[in-house]
């Protein structure tokens, strides 16, 4: 599904990583690991088409990712893309990654995460962990072919971690693929890639 060919990315004259090769099949979970500042987030942004000044080629379903008009990719970055002053419901309803607003679906996933969230409270009232669970419930309810998640397990309690792994399993059985970054050994993945391996120091 996703083919990364000799990907190199330079930032202010220094290469973060060079000649990275990756093949992502459908129904696969790939964990991207690496030390702090190694380029994990940059790599994820390259795959999702946010940072396009890389060297090499990224092919999504055999098409160059730069030429695709509306890829079915879900991206959830380190910053959650929500606005604190809007209510939870307004944030979820207006999120551009959410093609349909299915309130109940998201509520169900929130229950699985063990969260008591009221959709009419401002998002800023909730803790970072709760906001993460809201973001992940959105992730769970959206149907995409490829999910790109940056540090999805951070700020989660044990219950959340188990729940997320379960959602990963579910998504993969439905035919999607997931790429995520993580520091610790929380996420279960079928493949792992370490950015530090592609540095040239």
């Amino acid at each position: 599904m996703l083919k990364v060919d000799n990907l190199s990315y330079a930032y202010t004259d220094k290469y973060l990583f060079e000649n990275l090769n990756l093949y992502l099949d459908i129904k696969t979970i790939i964990k991207v690991s690496g030390s702090n500042g190694s380029g994990k987030t940059t790599f994820l942004k390259n795959i999702s088409g946010i940072l396009q000044d890389y060297e090499g080629e990224i092919l999504y379903l055999n098409e160059n990712i730069k030429d695709i008009s509306s890829p079915n990719i879900f991206y959830a970055g380190h910053k959650n893309g929500f606005k604190d002053n809007l209510t939870v419901g307004e944030n979820l309803k207006n999120d551009l990654r959410n093609p349909e607003f299915d309130l109940d679906k998201i509520k169900n996933y929130l229950n699985d995460f063990g969260c008591e969230i009221s959709f009419s409270t401002p998002l800023g009232n909730y803790s970072e962990g709760q906001k993460k669970k809201i973001l992940l419930s959105l992730f769970a309810s959206v149907n995409a072919d490829l999910y790109v998640l940056d540090e999805p397990f951070s700020n989660l309690d044990d219950e959340g971690i188990d729940c997320l792994n379960e959602i990963f399993r579910q998504k993969v059985s439905e035919g999607s693929s997931i790429v995520f970054t993580s520091h610790e050994n929380q996420g279960k993945s079928s493949q792992e890639i370490n950015i530090d391996d592609f540095k040239n120091d």
Partner: protein, 248 residues
Amino acid sequence: MNKTFNNLKTFYHKLGSSPWFYKISGITIPYVALFSFLFLSIGIVWGVFFSPTDFKQGDVYRIIYMHVPAASVSQAIYYTMTVAAVVSMIWRMKMAGIFIKSMAPIGASFTFLALISGSIWGQPTWGTWWIWDARLTSTLVLFIFYIAIISLYSSFSEKKSADQAVSILTLVGAVNLPIIKKSVDWWNTLHQPASIKFTESSSISPEMLYPLIISIFGFYLVVLLSGLMAMRAEIAKREINKEWFKNY
């Protein structure tokens, strides 16, 4: 015909190469320095000490040997930066970006010089340090643009992006500066300030013109000199880790 065209093309490609430019500028800088010193000193000394006293303005007019070249150069620099901005945006030529980055402070300095020298000239000649006519206002705006370009460049950590950003800003300024000048000019024709009438010094005698032209040449050469030196410094800064530079 074909040969000259091919030569031009090769020259243009060479211009885009930092090592070639670094080498050539290193060779030519001493000569440019020599000639700029010659022209500048001849022009200024001739104009300040040996040209005739003006009938209307007395001796104070001699500041035009500094003011006119500075004003001319400040505009010319912006024109060249505009061309470089177009090249930088369309062909992503690194040297064009280096050109803009290096010339902006030089342009700012000469614009500042033009403004100050113009004010000093204006006081005894027309009785005022400043007037909001089209020329002065648009020169002030030009100065602000130079400062904005310098400030914008420094706010980017990635040089490629900085080059593009200042190219955009330079182009926006280039499109709008004529509009600004025309509109202030037109506004002034409606609101003619009664007491002060600025007229061009219509005919200038040859004894005053020749040193002026030499001065102008001298200023352009000084700009060329500073530009070459600034671009060399910027190339050094950017390519310091490259092989060709280490082996230079």
